[in-house]
């Protein structure tokens, strides 16, 4: 007997024909397909909205934290973070500014002096944090000026003026114009004192600021560094707060600054390194949202699986016919897989239309939570705005799209295998 001389199929699979059949098969049960598409699109839109609001809320917290904190990048004494102390300062602040400006960074470089002091009035003495800032240019000016509830902001040449939080003012029982003695110990063991006059009282809605912070011009705070032996002509500071116009440049600029400063006594820190607890909170919050997204994905998976599997089971006889005619298992696998792929593509497309429309609305008008959180609330040392605006980055868009699309594709594997395993003789008996 001869070896079988079978015809070999053309190497190119009839993919166009299979694609056409797959598309038409989707619409055989139009209502079922539309219901499945709607449920997936709704779930997808919900996921987009959730992620957008979540990211918007987190980004708002981060922006507030950076603006209320020490900028995108903080430059300070190398030992300061481990054990803050008034004698740990950058001796030649002027030189550091020149080095930073030479990097060409786009943003502002704010010199700051942070000191632990004792604030004393005739009525009380409390521990406080004295922050000396450039009262004309510092970011805190933009943030706190609108929050002055009594008095006024410190003027340009006012070397004795101080601002206190409303909590601090209550503790010290001090009003506008009142005297406050600011005392600090020095490394040598001596103590030094400076006089401040209350020019304004602020309410930042953040207890840590309102109860402990005293703001002054750099010149007043610098007097304490002189007591630590600093040369005032070199413009010493405890740290620099660098605010960038484009936060995405932070990593590169941090490296550039480290390399340019090149001083073991000075460290360059990102805001994430300055505020690890905020990062941890965001990570935990994100984890909770990922669980919610998982629930949505499970809904999507079951929606697709139900539709495609029912469609496959209903067509057992038809698959038997196709096998009888000469279609091989791979063709059937591809056919059903195409159906799932097309359904997924449509679902993602419709989902994005709904999702982006919802996102656009909330990006413009925000979600007003004032009825729940009042004028806002503080958390992890930062401020949460009462109105949350949706924010979606391109990375998130790609992440969500790929996640849903790949998940739905994987869902289609089982029905495709089921279709490919059909045996013609049994199928044709159904």
């Amino acid at each position: 007997m001869n070896q079988p001389q079978l015809h070999r199929r053309h190497k190119e699979l009839p993919l166009r024909m299979l694609l056409m059949m797959a598309w038409r098969n989707l619409w055989r049960q139009r209502r079922r397909t539309l219901i499945t598409l709607s449920s997936i699109a709704f779930g997808f839109a919900l996921a987009v909205l959730t992620i957008g609001l979540n990211d918007g809320s987190h980004n708002s917290m981060i922006r507030n934290a950076i603006n209320m904190g020490d900028g995108h990048i903080t430059i300070q004494d190398a030992d300061y973070a481990a054990a803050p102390a008034n004698h740990k300062y950058i001796e030649n602040g002027q030189q550091v500014v020149e080095i930073l400006k030479a990097t060409g960074l786009s943003g502002s470089i704010e010199p700051r002096i942070s000191l632990q002091i004792l604030a004393t009035t005739a009525n009380n003495s409390v521990g406080a944090a004295l922050s000396g800032i450039n009262t004309l240019t510092d970011q805190w000016g933009k943030m706190l000026k609108p929050r002055i509830v009594e008095g006024e902001w410190i003027g340009a040449d006012d070397h004795r003026g101080i601002l206190v939080g409303d909590g601090m003012a209550r503790k010290l029982k001090v009003d506008i114009g009142g005297k406050v003695v600011l005392m600090a110990g020095s490394q040598g063991g001596d103590s030094q004192a400076q006089l401040g006059r209350v020019r304004g009282i602020f309410d930042s809605s953040i207890d840590e600021m309102d109860d402990f912070l005293i703001l002054s011009d750099l010149s007043l705070a610098r007097l304490f560094l002189a007591g630590e032996g600093a040369d005032l002509s070199l413009q010493p500071v405890t740290h620099f707060a660098v605010f960038l116009d484009d936060q995405h440049q932070m990593t590169a600029l941090k490296k550039q600054a480290e390399s340019a400063i090149n001083n073991d006594n000075i460290t360059v820190l990102s805001w994430q390194e300055m505020m690890p607890q905020l990062m941890q909170f965001i990570a935990i919050d994100d984890a909770g949202n990922y669980i919610f997204l998982l629930v949505i994905l499970v809904m999507v998976v079951f929606g697709i699986l139900n539709t495609v599997l029912m469609s496959v089971l209903e067509r057992t006889r038809e698959f038997g016919l196709l096998r009888a005619l000469g279609m091989n298992r791979r063709h059937l696998l591809i056919l059903v897989f195409y159906e799932t792929t097309l359904l997924s593509l449509l679902a993602v497309l419709v989902g994005w239309i709904f999702g982006l429309a919802t996102h656009a609305w909330f990006a413009n008008y925000g979600l007003n939570m004032a009825s729940l959180v009042g004028e806002g609330t503080q958390l992890m040392g930062t401020f949460i705005d009462p109105v949350i605006y949706s924010e979606l980055s391109m990375a998130r868009v790609i992440q969500i799209t790929l996640l849903v699309f790949v998940t739905t594709l994987i869902t289609g594997i089982y029905p495709a295998i089921k279709a490919a395993r059909v045996t013609p003789v049994e199928a044709l008996r159904t």
Binding site: P4, L6, H10, M17, R28, A324, L325, G326, V425
Partner: protein, 234 residues
């Protein structure tokens, strides 16, 4: 030279604890161009035998040679190829693909064979014309065609791909008398023109009247194998 050889074909099924012998020691030879009918009462094994010849099912014993190829030794993918290039099927229930129109149903097999798209389309239209479906009807999906029209499409599909053997399982069972007669005439004519072998499983007297060979099965065995026209002559 014989086109189809069945040597000691047997088929057993398990029904619970009972083993059913659906076919037993079938030996047949079919030549090219024959228009033959498998007849017998229900349960005689006609459809089972047709399925085995068509490679849709495997025999429990024996050997099948089609065009000198032992199809019982082929793997699943090879059998699919074999059905694609060598065989045509016509079913009782038409079994057209619902989402394809008439001409697409006919060209489906040719596209699977890897033929040129335009050539497939031309050939499909040609065979649909031969079976009596005009251009307008060729663009309709099966749900928009009558039973007779659907079965004509099935005949065109079976023949357009150029098979050596067409296996037809009760092709006229769901047709009215007029359509059945017309269809049988078409198949008989095409069989003679194309030299295609037709093997029917049937109860239909009209098929038997046209068949040049009638193979009768009973209880899974060949009861008789007659050539009525030759017997008349002799």
């Amino acid at each position: 030279m014989s086109l189809l050889e069945l040597n000691n074909i047997g088929k057993s099924f398990q029904q619970g604890e009972i083993t059913v012998r659906a076919l037993d020691n079938i030996n047949l030879t079919v030549n090219e161009g024959e228009f033959a009918a498998l007849v017998g009462p229900s349960g005689s094994g006609k459809t089972t035998l047709l399925n085995i010849i068509g490679g849709l099912d495997l025999p429990s014993d024996g050997q099948i040679l089609i065009n000198e190829t032992e199809i019982t030794a082929l793997k699943d993918s090879q059998l699919a190829d074999f059905r694609l290039f060598k065989l045509g099927f016509i079913f009782q229930a038409y079994n057209l693909v619902p989402v394809l129109n008439a001409v697409e149903n006919v060209e489906l097999v040719m596209i699977l064979q890897g033929r040129d798209k335009n050539q497939s389309r031309e050939r499909a239209e040609h065979y649909l014309n031969l079976v009596g479906l005009n251009n307008a009807m060729q663009q309709r999906r099966p749900s928009a065609l009558s039973g007779g029209q659907q079965q004509r499409v099935a005949v065109a599909r079976a023949l357009a791909a150029g098979p050596r053997i067409v296996l037809a399982d009760e092709p006229t069972a769901n047709l009215d008398s007029e359509n059945a007669t017309a269809l049988l005439d078409i198949m008989h004519r095409l069989s003679q023109e194309e030299k295609t072998t037709f093997l029917f499983s049937t109860h239909d007297v009209r098929v038997m009247e046209r068949a040049e060979r009638i193979i009768t099965l009973r209880d899974g065995k060949v009861e008789s194998d007659k050539w009525p026209a030759k017997e008349l002559v002799t």
